[in-house]
Symmetry: C2
Subunit: 262 residues, 2 copies
DNA sequence: CGTTTTGTTGACCCATCTCAAAGATGGTGG
DNA sequence: CCACCATCTTTGAGATGGGTCAACAAAACG
């Protein structure tokens, strides 16, 4: 338990496992919390094999920024994050959503600078790891390398799924599929799925799904009318999903020719 | 030059650098051809550090298939390839196009089986590498690992660009941007960009861009009418691109409010 | 509280899809 | 070499999903 609860340094940074020189030789860190059960192996592997920093963030905080020099990878311990890219001509695009166990920053590996912004959607904590240190450590612990590769591979597959949604589904179905995926992911990581809180505005969701905010709003209304989702009393940002499969069924229905009715 | 031009084994496989036991210990291969200039470092690194097989493929051949057990990565030496995913309910989606220097198969790392099909669009050659062998070799030659990571990182960034096109551009602009990207990529790898051959049907292009084949056809007609592209005499699959920047300008014009005219 | 941001809903319009017909293209076998 | 066929491409006309504009309701915020 030595040095587990480290001193908080400036601006929301907590150094874990550092004594004098932070972020140098890979010494075994000792983190104490509840990392039990079958939580993302990424977190466990990093905790057990790497020097890392814990950084607490709040809604709106930027984890990194497009153009910034690459050097760190981040593992999400808690909180929700959006990944946003900006085209040269000013188009802004939400390209991914991240939460517990996800890696952030791999887009920076290719060119040596990040090419997206990552912004916290609520309060949370990310673990900061130096890419170099990760590579070094992976020499002695191959599982670490495997984990990174799997994470990147998963991200590629996920992006392709998004592409398929965009290309093949109607607006309503995209919203339904979005909720389905979101709930499913939460479930995979041991969180509640029957009542989820959308951390984004309709505009942000629409941006992510290639729809206008009005279309998102209408889609949600229709899903509610079809009893596929429900709205909790509190605002319209909490969505009740009594049955995830019903969302999938809705998507299917909207694909097959005779869908829509009932 | 020993064993460089290896015996062709059954069904289009050429083993490079194998003598008795193929694909085992990483022995130094000796490949003789023209790998010069600033061609994809992937090819050079693999050639110099790994045991690999060369596989010649023809239009329509499948490199690997969704569901197949993962084990190999592939580096494209020549030819063009489409990556296709199939959803459980039967939707088919072209999610990427690949050519010289690109890696194939990284989508298989996450789950231990590939989750896409890769299909050759014409005659070409891919180099087959065992993922395990690559990891082993990367212990002694870190550049190999760096190359793999950069390739995956690039793929993630590219997928995000596609997402942005899908979400923010009109149909015509998506087609223009597609041609622009295609030509630019060819240029990056030292190929001609002023007259490119589309290896896909309108239907395939449309599938990739989230458009119907009719919309693609109309978009191409309009681009030709606007003199942004031209059609070579030979069929309508050869597209002349006198000026790549003109394509970019077309995209810009279709974004800004007062676009379209002239 | 007022002020600002976010969400909902309606009416209208347009880009893209759908359906349909006809022209190219390319391959195959006689 | 040509006739034939399957596939691909182009183009038109009409239908429609989702965008746009606008008004208002509901939260969030200080």
């Amino acid at each position: 338990m030595v040095g587990a609860e480290a001193v908080a340094s400036s601006s929301g940074w907590k150094a874990v496992n550092r004594s004098a020189a932070p972020l140098t030789a890979p010494r075994r860190p000792i983190a104490s919390e509840e990392l039990s059960g079958r939580i993302g192996s990424a977190l466990r592997l990093v905790r057990d094999n790497l020097v890392y920093q814990r950084r607490v963030v709040h809604a709106g905080d930027r984890i990194y920024q497009a153009g910034e020099q690459f050097g760190n990878l981040y593992i999400v311990n808690s909180g929700f994050y959006k990944v946003v890219t900006l085209s040269p001509d000013g188009r802004e695009q939400v390209v991914a959503l991240k939460f517990r166990g996800d890696w952030l920053g791999v887009d920076g590996i290719a060119r040596g600078e990040y090419d997206s912004d990552v912004i916290a959607l609520d309060t949370g904590e990310v673990w900061v790891v130096r890419y170099d240190a990760l590579l070094d450590a992976s020499l002695s612990e191959r599982a670490l390398l495997t984990e990174l590769h799997q994470a990147m591979s998963r991200e590629i597959s996920r992006d392709r799924d998004s592409l398929m949604s965009l290309c093949t589904l109607s607006g309503d179905a995209r919203v339904a599929d979005f909720l389905r995926y979101w709930a499913e992911s939460l479930g995979d990581r041991g969180m509640r799925t029957d009542c989820i809180t959308l951390r984004m505005t309709r505009a942000e969701i629409g941006n992510y799904l290639g729809l206008t905010l009005e279309s998102v709003s209408r889609a949600l209304s229709r899903l509610a009318k079809a009893k596929v989702i429900g709205f909790a009393g509190n605002g319209r940002r909490d969505v009740q999903i009594p049955d995830i499969d019903a969302l999938g069924a809705f998507v299917q229905r909207s694909i097959s020719p005779a869908g829509m009715l009932q």
